[in-house]
Symmetry: C2
Subunit: 237 residues, 2 copies
């Protein structure tokens, strides 16, 4: 009953949203490329035919089902391991929030790679500076405000669904972590505007599975190969 | 038993992926902002509290459930109206393809708005030219090749699931339409490399519901306010 996660072994990236849910839920998994390296990930991806993942991360279930896309992986895990509510309206709301988180992650990546996904950041610095300003000024408040409203909605506890955490809570924790790493000045200036989201972040960091994971060597550090990158010239209050 | 779709009334945009599935499936819906205007859409969005959509499109079901995000809306309609297979592995595959389509749509939008989502295209033309080249040279072949493999997988018919269409087939039709509109030279140069995808596109255009919709005044024309925009300077073989 062990899952196999395939993702780049040097970065948190999009894979981290899956790792966090697995760790918080105490679900057995192998982080395959961390054991076998990037070449093994590429070899695995290239050996698949037919229903091939478009890109990592992808998760192989104990039964051999392969699922790509963070939102799809988490929806599956949510249903199977009760990491999300089962009632339709609640479950759909968590799925929508996860898709909005995915959009925010894509925009955070676009900040340092606005014009050439295949080029280095160093080759698109002026463009990145402009993209960063839009992201800091317009997009961060819009996304964070939305998630703060969602976190404030159920007053019976700090999580989106009140007293019980879901996979989307773990993802919001990671989003806040990533934004704090990439934009420390900007986050210091505005995060006080989002008290419910910050309380949610603290509550997730207190979950036993998350706490143990963050203290382990399984948790990679943020770095400038991932999605959330700290380039001081792209930050600002 | 009527759905209410809320989306910008002047453009195809992301809403078109929902419209097409509803039309192909012969499902009753009201395209609310086309009847009442953009101000009514904004008023509706602002009047919602609690579980508010992050952005249009969003769909209100006959029971009053509100769902945002194209992939979530289509997954819901797929299950309820049999616009997708019910077997788990098949259903998950269709959901993953839809999420990959969503990523391609986001990248197509990024081409003309790489550094400032709130700014005009005219204020980011050099950046857009560079983003367009990456998209044409690297990303279009990667996405189209992936979808062609998916279309070729089941040889018992032109659709992703062989003889029976799904909502993701409708979305692939729309993606090809959009790319042809935005990048006619590039598509003319490469679309012959993707025969299964092009056969799928033709098969969708022959569906009775789609054919009737495309011939009606409900189908808006592509224009330079939507996601797929034809700026000749961003195209090239």
């Amino acid at each position: 009953m062990t899952y196999t996660l395939w993702y780049w072994p040097e970065i948190q990236g999009r894979g981290e949203f899956v790792r966090l849910a697995l760790e918080a839920g105490g679900i057995d998994y192998v982080d395959a490329a961390r054991e076998q390296g990037s070449d093994a990930l590429l070899a695995d991806l290239n050996a698949r035919h037919g229903r091939t993942p478009f890109a990592p991360p992808y998760l192989e279930t104990p039964e051999g089902l392969v699922i790509a896309h963070v939102a799809a992986i988490l929806a599956y895990l949510g249903e199977r391991h009760m990491l999300a509510p089962s009632e339709l309206a609640d479950r759909l709301w968590i799925e929508q929030l996860q898709l909005t988180i995915a959009d925010c992650v894509t925009e955070a990546h676009n900040v340092h790679h606005p014009v050439g996904t295949g080029d280095y950041y160093e080759d698109q610095k002026p463009e990145a500076a402009r993209a960063a300003q839009t992201f800091r000024d317009e997009r961060m408040p819009k996304f964070l405000g939305h998630f703060d409203d969602a976190a404030a909605h159920d007053e019976s506890g700090a999580f989106l669904m009140g007293p019980r955490w879901t996979y989307a809570d773990c993802s919001l924790f990671q989003l806040v972590e990533g934004l704090r790493y990439a934009f420390p000045q900007r986050m210091a200036a505005i995060e006080g505007d989002y008290p419910a989201l910050m309380a949610l972040h603290r509550a997730v960091s207190d979950l036993a599975g998350v706490k143990a994971y963050l203290a382990s060597d399984r948790r990679l550090a943020f770095n400038e190969m991932g999605i959330f990158r700290h380039y001081p010239e792209l930050d600002g209050a």
